[in-house]
C-alpha cells in the first residue's frame, strides 16, 4: 500500500473516531449509535496498519486488490448502519402509534371527567376539542 494512501486512510480513521467520540461527549449522538462507527473505524485502522492481514483477507474473499476489500468493508458497514436505522425507525413508529392511541384515550377520559365534574353528560369530547 503506497505510504500516501496509508497515511490518508489512517487520518480518516482517526478523524472519524475523534468526531464520533466528540459527538457522544456533547450528547448529540447516543452511545448505541456510535458502536458501529467506532468498531468500523478501529477495524479499518488495524487493517491499514497490519497490511498483511488485509492481504490475507483479500485472498480469502477472492477480491482483486486490498483496497477493494476495504471498499467492500465500507459498503457492508453502510448497509449495517442502514439496517440499524430501519430497525430503530420501525420501533419508534410503533412507539409513536402507542403514544398517539394512549393520548387519544386519555384525552377522551379527561374531557369526560371534566364534563362530569361540571355536571354535564359524559360522551363526546368534540365540542371541547374541535
Amino acid at each position: 500500500m503506497p505510504i500516501r494512501q496509508k497515511i490518508f486512510a489512517l487520518i480518516v480513521c482517526v478523524g472519524v473516531v475523534i468526531f464520533i467520540i466528540d459527538m457522544v461527549r456533547r450528547r448529540r449522538l447516543r452511545e448505541e449509535y456510535s458502536v458501529l462507527w467506532l468498531t468500523t473505524s478501529v477495524i479499518m485502522f488495524v487493517l491499514v496498519v497490519k497490511y498483511d492481514w488485509l492481504e490475507t483477507i483479500t485472498k480469502y474473499i477472492g477480491a482483486g486488490l486490498p483496497t477493494t476489500t476495504l471498499f467492500i468493508g465500507s459498503i457492508v458497514f453502510l448497509m449495517l448502519i442502514s439496517v440499524q436505522f430501519s430497525i430503530k425507525i420501525s420501533k419508534l413508529t410503533n412507539q409513536v402509534k402507542d403514544l398517539v392511541q394512549d393520548n387519544t384515550l386519555l384525552r377522551s377520559e379527561l374531557m369526560n371527567r371534566s364534563r362530569s365534574d361540571r355536571g354535564g353528560t359524559p360522551g363526546s369530547e368534540e365540542d371541547e376539542v374541535a
Binding site: V100, Q101, T104, R107, S124, E125, E126, A130
Partner: protein, 233 residues
Amino acid sequence: MKIIVIIPAYNEGSRIAEVVSNVHRTVPDYDILVVNDGSHDSTASSAATAGATVLSHPFNMGYGVAIQTGYKFAYAKGYDFLAQIDGDGQHDPAYIQRLLEPVISGKTDLTIGSRFLEAGSYEPSLVRRIGMAFFRKVVSLIIGTRITDSTSGYQAFNRDVIRFFTTEVFPCDYPDADMLITLHRAGFRMMEVPVRMYSNVEGKSMHGGIMPFYYIFKMLLSIFVTLLRKRKM
C-alpha cells in the same frame, strides 16, 4: 351485554353524520364510536352532533391505527361485542345485526361481511378483483375455510378478539388477509356473512396511486412471516 359500533373516519365531514345516523337508526341500543383519524374537516364535530362518541387522533395515523384505537377503547370500557363499519358510507348498516348474531350466539368469534355473497353490491375494478381473488385463494388455502372477501373491513367480533387486536399482533398497516391468518393460527373461529357494499361515491381510496403495488408486496411478506411465527393466543 355491551355492544359498540366503531367507525374509523378521515376527512369524512360530508358523510359521517349520515353514516352515524343510519347506524343509530338500525341499531339504536348500541353505542357508536367514531375514531377521527386527524381529519382536517368537520368529521369530529359532525359525528359528535349526530350522537356518536368521538375519539380524535392528534394527527393522521392511518386506517389500521384508527381502528385499533377503537379496539383499545372498547376493551378498556368493557364491551362484550364490537362491529366495525367504514365511515365513507360504503357499508350498508342494515347488516350490522346480521354480522353480530353469530358472534353473540357463540357460533363464531368473528364474522366478515362479504360483498361477494350478497347481490346488489358494487363491482370493484378488474385489477382489484384480480388482487382480491388471489388473496382470497391464499387465505382460504391456509386457513382451510372458504373466504370470499378477505379485504372486507365490515366485521363483528367478541371480546376475546377485541383483546387480541389490542396487542402488537394487530397489523396496523392494511389489516386484512394477514390478520385473518393470524386469527386462524391463534385458534379463533371465523365465518362470512353476506353484506351489501356500495361504491365510494367520492372515489377516495387508500388503495390509490402506487399503493396497490405496496399492498401486494406488504401482504405477501406479511403472510409469509405470519406463517413463520409461532402460534400465539
